[in-house]
């Protein structure tokens, strides 16, 4: 039994390495994608969900809720991807000889890292809700943190005269 597990582990590792190489090539052209926070807010609105729950049959509500979750997952994935891009883009600024730029970049990186963690948590919660649609778990804490990140990136852009302003606008 253990032998089978060990061989499976080794084969999983080979697949994982292959996927990592492919993913690295893809991310060589890393892009920022806009996130419509108003739409995201709407998706997270529980009142909407309660309304649908009252008005629809259970099976139809479950179908729609799962559809909403799939869309929400795409938003969360987009925010996570943007946070990752910000992490990568801020690495250079963190080593800037100007203390204020370096300090703001460090703050931005910390915040982006926190958002990545929250996205992981949000994905976990959404997965649970997808499996059990009667559950009501909202990753609502994500929105204020993402807005703070936007503000910080804009501040970093103001401190640095190049490149970072388009970054802040893009997210």
């Amino acid at each position: 039994m253990i032998t089978v597990i060990v061989i499976a582990l080794a084969l999983c590792a080979v697949v994982l390495f292959y996927m990592a190489v492919r993913s690295r090539r893809k991310h060589a052209v890393q892009s920022l994608r806009q996130v419509d926070l108003a739409a995201f807010h709407t998706l997270l609105d529980r009142d909407d969900e309660l309304f649908l729950k009252r008005k629809l049959s259970r099976s139809k509500f479950v179908g729609i809720k799962r559809h909403r979750i799939r869309v929400t997952v795409r938003y969360v994935a987009r925010i996570a991807s943007n946070a990752s891009t910000v992490l990568h883009a801020s690495e250079g600024a963190r080593l800037s000889p100007m203390p204020e730029v370096a300090s703001t970049a460090a703050q931005v990186m910390d915040l982006a890292a926190q958002i990545r963690l929250q996205c992981l948590l949000a994905m976990f919660k959404l997965s649970l809700e997808y499996a059990i649609p009667s559950l009501q778990l909202t990753p609502a804490m994500l929105v204020p943190a993402y807005q703070t990140l936007r503000e910080n990136v804009r501040r970093l852009g103001d401190l640095q005269t190049q490149n970072s302003v388009p970054l802040a606008n893009a997210i």
Partner: protein, 246 residues
């Protein structure tokens, strides 16, 4: 071409590649950034040189070979630790959590390794077999930790520097093949064992080529953000709104 002769040729090729890798590590001063990896490479080169030199008494060869293997595995684990430290060094917010998960992963892998060692040790009659079983266990820990590195960096959205990615990829590929090799060794006929040795040599040479490739590749250019076409976003937004208002 007989398999034995092919394995011998691959061994010679691996010596040439290891020498080249050592020269590049010294020339590019990469040993400063990756001291453990440099120690790992230099030790492997030393091991190969020791094994090549002179005619060995079988018992002396056995103990020397497995002692070198043990040191090589310990250095491999140190390389994994070095990569982990380098990846998470700039991310204070993630480091604490990642360290906790890393420790949990180490414990889980040690438990799995102990399970594997226990299961196989029941049939281990000779000291050679015991050594193989112990190697199997340590390879499980090594490979599991490399997998953890790839999974955690992907989950946290961290960017790997080119050299670190290459080092982890080469080490991981080598460890995966080595683990399969050690696990299947006892279940194989002598002919099958030769094939496994061939695969092992091929994978080690492959890892050396991966390390050389990533060390010699030109440095990465900084990424530039690309905007998504607005029309596409509007269409997407509209679809979401329709879904919500349905």
């Amino acid at each position: 071409m007989p398999v034995g002769s092919l394995i011998h040729d691959l061994w010679i090729a691996s010596i040439a590649l290891q020498c080249l890798l050592a020269v590049i590590l010294l020339a590019k001063r990469s040993w400063r950034k990756h001291p453990m990896f440099a120690a790992y490479v230099f030790f492997n080169l030393l091991q190969t040189t020791i094994m090549l030199s002179g005619h060995w008494v079988p018992t002396a060869f056995f103990y020397t070979f497995w002692t070198c293997e043990a040191i090589s595995i310990v250095l491999g684990l140190a390389v994994v630790r070095e990569i982990f430290t380098n990846i998470f060094a700039p991310h204070a917010a993630l480091r604490k959590l990642a360290t906790i998960i890393f420790r949990v992963a180490v414990v889980a892998l040690i438990v799995l390794a102990c399970g594997a060692i226990y299961e196989q040790s029941l049939s281990a009659k000779t000291i050679a077999r015991v050594v193989v079983v112990a190697t199997d266990g340590t390879r499980i820990v090594e490979l599991g930790l490399i997998m953890f590195l790839f999974l955690s960096s992907s989950a946290f959205g961290l960017h790997w520097r080119q050299n670190e990615f290459g080092i982890a990829l080469g080490l991981g590929t080598c460890a995966a093949v080595e683990l399969i090799n050690v696990t299947l060794m006892t279940h194989m006929s002598p002919g099958g064992g030769e094939v496994l040795s061939l695969v092992r040599s091929l994978s080690f040479n492959g890892s050396l080529l991966i390390w050389l490739g990533y060390l010699l590749a030109p440095p990465e250019r900084p990424t530039t953000p690309v905007d998504v076409p607005k029309a596409q976003l509007e269409q997407w937004n509209q679809a979401v709104m329709e879904l919500i208002n349905r």
